[in-house]
Symmetry: C2
Subunit: 217 residues, 2 copies
């Protein structure tokens, strides 16, 4: 077994990044929880930034790949006679299923992804955003293109905005899921999980996607 060190670091970093964010977690807490020497991170990943990238790559690669496969499969054997609403629900459902499959092998991947997107869109110059789209943009572009097909009553600009409003639902829900699930359990005695939440969100996003546009925007 070669270098369980790397895996132990990745596993520990994943948990910390997901629960406390990138800047808020130090290499020292990561290496301590991983039972690994502090210098190991810089030795194996070069820098903290390198570690963050490795952590995100580990699930972003499978996620985009999975999504790509699901979409092409769906496109090749798509049922006829569906209206836009149903098509949107299907597409969003595929995205949700990809997320679920990835989260099954990596419990914190979505939380990290949400943090990643949040920080990417919080810096207006957006180096991180550029890196993400260059690295993984292809699958998501394809996804957007399919969505676009079933939101025909919009200009490209209107679609751009609408898409990011939908993204907001997803990102906020996921990054707040721990808190929301806890509140839900305390306040309504209802024990739920992320999968149920995702299923809950799909029709909401579909409705939001189909909301009327305001004039010429």
């Amino acid at each position: 077994m070669t270098s369980s060190t790397i895996d132990r670091i990745l596993d520990a970093a994943e948990v910390e990044f997901a629960t406390h964010g990138f800047v808020e977690t130090s290499l020292r807490t990561i290496t301590t929880k991983a039972k690994v020497n502090l210098a190991a991170v810089n030795y194996h990943f070069g820098s903290k930034k390198g570690l963050i990238q490795a952590v995100t790559d580990r699930f972003l690669a499978p996620l985009t790949q999975n999504l790509q496969i699901q979409l092409t499969k769906y496109e090749s054997s798509r049922p006829n006679g569906l209206n836009d609403e149903q098509e949107l629900q299907h597409l969003l459902g595929l995205l949700a299923r990809s997320c679920q499959q990835v989260v099954q092998q990596n419990q914190h991947s979505l939380a990290i992804l949400a943090r990643l997107i949040n920080t990417a869109y919080s810096q207006s110059q957006g180096h991180l955003r550029k890196h993400l789209t260059q690295q993984y943009g292809a699958s998501f572009m394809y996804f957007m293109k399919l969505l676009r097909k079933h939101m025909p009553a919009m200009t490209n600009e209107q679609f751009f905005w609408r898409f990011h409003y939908l993204l907001g639902v997803l990102v906020f829900s996921i990054s707040s899921s721990d808190a929301l699930l806890a509140i839900c359990e305390r306040e309504y005695k209802s024990v739920r999980n992320l999968d149920q939440m995702m299923a809950d969100i799909i029709p909401v996003m579909a409705s939001a996607a189909q909301a009327p546009t305001i004039g010429e925007i």
Copy 2:
């Protein structure tokens, strides 16, 4: 003129907090931009946390107050015969207008508010969330209660989730607005602003609010 120091600190902190976040901005950059001695923050506000609270209080107090007034005014002279969709649009419009009024006097207030909510919901134990609801929860509870009235086909738990999905649209859009507006201008040669974005979002949120619920959730 007594202590322009305090105001200069608040103004500078506001800009930095809005554009770079709370933890990412140091007291040194704030005091430098404010042309004020480093120790001034601790002298006038006690600590960095105190400064953050002062910065947020400066716009949260007017915002909640404004919202409260608008809501009670609306409730007392509400037009009859509106359906739920229209009522929701009205209520969300009032929230948007409150935001606009506050943002008019304080350009970065919404960006900071979005960051505040994001961090509040990102820590599952939620001390900040508790503080916010204790301090300013009244107005927002009232707002939620009015919203609830026009989303009758839901359980309380379903409403809880749906409300936070809507909140996600708002929070993500606002915290990403700088990036989104920049992309929009570059990609579609369309110069827009936050007000237009907010107006754009209202029907989307109203639609999302009325999306069908999944079974017994």
